[in-house]
């Protein structure tokens, strides 16, 4: 699709992109670098300090129950993703394939969620969850997250289903499939790229959610990874090496996950864009 560019301009563009990337990555590198420092160098105002040591990581892993926070994050996030995927595929299917009466009105209503800032919902949600007895429970964040996340998923999946070949659904009906069978055997496999995209995006958003988690999850047994850095910043005030080792460990799981799934994520985004 592209004519050959003069080599010089290619090199210049690559150099410029690498230079910008180097600047962009300073905070990430800085975080890792402080975590790898000896106590003497911890306060040096340099990007890198040598020699590197893994002592901080060893200390931090030995002294703290990071794994339990990690598991809390994992439970909350996986449950949210599962609920969002289930609810939004069912809803999108009802709108795009079943053409149920009133479904478009409900769709439009659901979409208003996208315009609701969380800041205006935290107070009523906190009080609602209190009456449910869901404060300091996984359910207390899982269901609100799912409710907030489902509309975006519905938008993407509905557009994707509407652009799928109608004949497939028609054929399924003629062959005697009922709505559920059509959903399960025809629609779901058909929208897999969009589903992967929606699932990964919901995973990222949920894993990193801070506001509601801060209010609802106040006991250590249920806290997610995102809200624990604050307590470490107090704990390791005089020991930045240890603090930044913890921060690196907190940030790492999602970064690694993204690097692994980014290809599928971008593919879903591109496919969604073609179709939607």
């Amino acid at each position: 699709m592209r004519r050959h560019h003069p080599n010089i301009s290619r090199i210049v563009i690559h150099a410029a992109l690498f230079a910008l990337l180097a600047v962009w990555m300073i905070p990430e590198v800085y975080m890792l670098s402080i975590g790898l420092r000896t106590p003497d160098q911890a306060f040096d105002a340099t990007l890198m300090a040598w020699p590197l040591t893994l002592d901080n990581f060893a200390t931090v892993i030995r002294d703290n129950a990071i794994v339990s926070f990690f598991l809390n994050s994992l439970i909350v996030t996986l449950a949210t993703v599962a609920i969002v995927v289930a609810c939004s595929t069912l809803f999108a299917f009802a709108c795009a394939v079943l053409h149920l009466r009133w479904s478009l009105v409900l769709y439009a209503t659901l979409l208003t969620t996208l315009m609701v800032p969380l800041a205006s919902l935290v107070l009523p949600l906190a009080i609602l969850l209190k009456t449910f007895g869901w404060v300091n429970t996984y359910a207390g964040v899982i269901f609100p997250y799912a409710a907030l996340g489902a509309p975006f998923a519905v938008v993407v999946l509905k557009a994707f289903m509407e652009d799928s070949p109608k004949e497939l659904f028609e054929a399924a009906r003629v062959d005697g499939c009922n709505a559920w069978q059509t959903y399960w055997h025809v629609a779901l496999p058909l929208i897999r790229p969009a589903l992967v995209f929606v699932g990964i995006w919901q995973f990222i958003v949920t894993w990193n959610e801070f506001f509601l988690a801060l209010i609802i999850l106040t006991r250590n047994e249920v806290k997610t990874l995102t809200i624990v850095p604050m307590q470490y910043s107090g704990l390791y005030m005089a020991n930045p090496g240890a603090l930044f080792a913890v921060l690196t460990l907190i940030a790492l799981p999602l970064i690694l996950l993204y690097v692994v799934v980014q290809r599928a994520f971008v593919r879903g985004l591109l496919a969604g864009a073609v179709k939607g």
Binding site: H5, I13, H14, A16, L17, W24, I26, P27, D44, A45, C87, S88, L90, F91, A94, V97, L98, H99, L100, S103, L106, L114, M115, V116, P117, L118, A119, S120, L121, L123, P124, A126, L128, F143, A146, A147, L148, A150, V154, V155, A159, A179, I204, N208, F211, I215, P229, S233, L243, L247, A251, L254, L257, Y258, Q262, V266, L270, G272, A273, G276
Partner: protein, 317 residues
């Protein structure tokens, strides 16, 4: 199964109508139920509750009395509220265009001028988006710190010497936070533009090239206009994102010093959960909500609704 069978029969009798595409049975409405249930319980009900609550005031003995718009006037008369409004306007006006500009430019060069490194660049520029925001906040506090912060050290090379951390100074705090936000979210704009550029119809670009449009000319007069759907959705997401702002501010300044960097998130949080003033908290929540709805509606009326990740079927054809 007799009902289903008989319904199948009637449908087959009128194959030409739209009904023929439908699957039978009222039970299919159950497909809508889970999402609607979530919406009603966790979105609609809280909104209605908070709207009602904003008209009441709770006394010391926990009896609520109707006060009408009184709390609204109190909030509008609160100088902090207007600092928040100013900060939110600044936040939106700076972050949204800057992110579009940097993200769009980077996306353009990645998509049109790289091959082997494309995946690498796409992933790396997106990393700040997936880095936990609370981690990011603490890293930037360290970067901004006087004496041992790396940011101050770099500024010194340019002859800029600051006595304190930029987040500790009321006149610079909000800008320092905006910078962090831009740094974190530019990768998102980049990826949206990447999707938009990758999906530009090749025929149009080829036709433009035949007509002699190249390089910047091509970008300016063909690519940018064709990416309008992406720009529009980024604008909509940017405005909602601005009103959502909370973690970075809460963790780096807590809205301070002296409310200088207060945003809606911290204002609601402080009023409702730190000061425990539910009535005022509810009122602020309603104001944020109404603002968000108005801004979204204005955009939808003027620019059209488009929330798909990129492109839109009518417009991209």
């Amino acid at each position: 199964m007799p009902t289903l069978a008989s319904q199948g029969e009637t449908i087959r009798l009128q194959p030409a109508t739209r009904r023929s595409r439908r699957f039978a049975g009222p039970w299919t409405y159950l497909f809508l139920a889970p999402a609607v249930l979530l919406f009603v319980v966790f979105i609609a009900y809280p909104i209605v509750w908070v709207a009602c609550q904003s008209f009441f005031s709770e006394d010391r003995d926990h009896t609520a009395s109707f006060v009408g718009l009184e709390t609204y006037w109190a909030v509008l008369g609160d100088p902090v509220f207007w600092i928040v409004v100013r900060n939110m306007v600044l936040w939106g006006l700076i972050t949204i265009p800057v992110q579009m500009l940097i993200g769009g430019t980077v996306a353009y060069f990645i998509e049109r001028h790289t091959n082997a490194w494309r995946g690498f660049f796409r992933t790396m520029f997106f990393l700040p988006v997936v880095t936990s925001v609370s981690v990011i906040s603490l890293v930037w506090v360290q970067i901004y710190a006087p004496y041992y912060g790396i940011g101050q050290e770099y500024l010194r090379h340019f002859g800029i010497i600051m006595a304190s951390s930029p987040i500790g100074d009321p006149s610079t705090a909000i800008y320092a936070l905006i910078l962090v936000n831009i740094w974190q979210w530019t990768g998102f704009s980049m990826l949206m533009y990447v999707a938009g550029i990758a999906n530009l119809p090749t025929e149009v670009l080829d036709a433009a090239r035949v007509d002699g449009a190249r390089g910047l000319r091509l970008a300016w007069s063909i690519i940018i206009p064709m990416l309008m759907p992406v720009t529009k959705s980024l604008l909509l997401l940017g405005i909602i994102g601005t009103l959502q702002t909370f973690p970075v501010v809460q963790l780096m300044t807590g809205g301070g010093p002296n409310h200088a960097s207060e945003v809606f998130g911290t204002y609601v949080f402080r009023t409702s959960f730190v000061l425990g003033d539910t009535g005022k908290g509810a009122t602020i929540s309603v104001i944020v909500l109404v603002l968000a709805l108005i801004l979204s509606l204005v955009q939808i009326v003027y620019l059209g609704a488009d929330l798909a990740p990129s492109g839109h079927k009518e417009e991209s054809r």
